[in-house]
Amino acid sequence: MRAEQLAEEFPTIGLDDSAVAAARFLANRCLPALIVVDHQLHPYAVLPASQVLRFMIPPYVQQDPALAGVVNEKAADQLGASLSGHTVRELLSGSLDELPVVEHDATAMEIAEVMGRMHASLVAVIRGDILLGAVSATRLLEEILPQ
């Protein structure tokens, strides 16, 4: 089984789209991640839902996780407000070391290796610059587990 056979059509979002729109997209469709494309619609990054949540956390809590419990419930519930006015590009800042991307002819082993190494729940499948779709971790598990 090759990546292009496993790839499913997956929603994409633009780099300069709003962060709130990306978060709503993820929440409404229960997606683990979104594929971010640049102006030429080439895959640019994979935006996991966890990265969106990370962006919402105040920097002082990121530096000192003990402070997460110190803030009361009312203040903690207002986390979502921190997304407004930001773009998807800003959500990605600092998280773009390497893209979870495989070529169309990658095997299940190669896809699993990328997912495992990068802790990615979604891997984009490309042929050259063209985005073919994506393989989710659940889709891959479904395929490789013995019946």
């Binding site: 105040p58 002082y60 809590v61 530096q63 000192d64 003990a66 402070l67 110190v70 009361n72």
Partner: protein, 324 residues
């Protein structure tokens, strides 16, 4: 050879100061060049007490870093800072004063950078709740950390190096510098009050936001906190007694670190992960480079020159050190 040694040292120093190259890479490069050119040989660099790496300094730093790394996981700082902000009833200057005092006191036993890294996030949190600019508070803490670090032998790496070279004990530092630091802090708090006077806008309507913070939640592991504090007190006691017992402070720090790893659930891997290895490597490389300068006689010539210019007067002789 003297010109080459000075050239290597100055080039490395400029690279470090310009921050164009990572300071550890620059120092290691400089030390490597000094060794490769034979300015200092490996025997002197690694084994000489006079011109080699001062392993007492390195192991003292290593031991204290392990102890500090464990204490910083307890949440004690966050607890103290939030508790004091509540006691200050949200009044900005009182909060700054208590944060400054916490920072200065902590800096007497912890590394300055670590202290600021511990106090900064909670400062930003408190300032955010009170709609205050955190920058004046952070600046005040950075300065307090530097002042507090002067008080003890382990407060700052330069203190450790000076103590090692001048044979000064923990108590020498404590007796001569701690009272001075206490006086400096009084003056410093007055300066903060004046310098940042426009930043202390008190808004009573925001008091609830501070009072709603739950400082007890910051303590992640009560047992670890108690054990670490007991070990810290014992280590400080041993530092005080080290000269009477004829034990090097480095041995005390290493023993403390070892005991802490043994009596807590922290693994050795977790403990050494908190060690600032780049800082240790940086100091080792600096020792090698300074050792090179000692070997070619530059340090001796320099001290002779300074003594002749100042005619041996102590105050003037120490001026170059102040300038550094």
């Amino acid at each position: 050879m003297t010109v080459v040694a000075v050239g290597v040292f100055v080039t490395t120093y400029l690279l470090i100061a310009s921050e164009k190259v990572n300071r550890v890479a620059a120092a290691l490069g400089g030390a490597g060049v000094m060794l490769a050119l034979g300015i200092i040989d490996s025997e002197h660099a690694f084994f000489s007490h006079e011109s080699g790496i001062d392993w007492n300094v390195i192991f003292l730093l290593l031991g204290t870093m392990i102890i500090v790394g464990t204490i910083q996981q307890t949440g004690l700082f966050e607890y103290l800072a939030i508790w004091s902000a509540k006691r200050a009833r949200g009044r900005p200057f009182r909060i700054m004063a208590t944060f400054v005092l916490i920072t200065a006191i902590a800096s007497t036993v912890l590394n300055n950078v670590t202290t600021v890294l511990l106090i900064a996030p909670v400062t930003v949190l408190v300032c955010e709740r009170l709609r205050l600019r955190p920058v004046p508070f952070l600046i005040a803490e950075v300065m307090a950390s530097n002042i507090g670090g002067i008080a003890t032998l382990i407060g700052d790496p330069p203190n450790i190096i000076i103590a090692g070279r001048a044979n000064l004990s923990f108590n020498d530092f404590l007796i001569h510098l701690a009272p001075l630091v206490a006086l400096l802090m009084v003056g410093y708090l007055g300066l903060c009050r004046w310098l940042f006077r426009r930043e202390f806008t008190y808004r009573p309507e925001l008091l609830d936001e501070i009072m709603a913070l739950k400082e007890r939640e910051a303590i992640r592991d009560r047992r670890l906190l108690i054990t670490s504090l007991v070990v810290l007190v014992l280590v400080i006691g041993a530092f005080v007694l080290s000269s009477a017992l004829d034990i090097e402070p480095s041995v005390v720090a290493l023993l403390g670190a070892g005991v802490l790893i043994l009596v807590t659930k922290i693994t050795a891997e977790e403990a050494v992960r908190e060690v600032e290895w780049p800082t240790l490597v940086f100091f080792m490389a600096l020792f090698v480079m300074v050792g090179g300068l000692i070997q070619v006689g530059v340090i001796e010539d320099l001290s002779r020159f300074v003594t002749s210019v100042t005619a041996g007067r102590l105050f003037l002789t120490t001026m170059p050190a102040f300038r550094s």
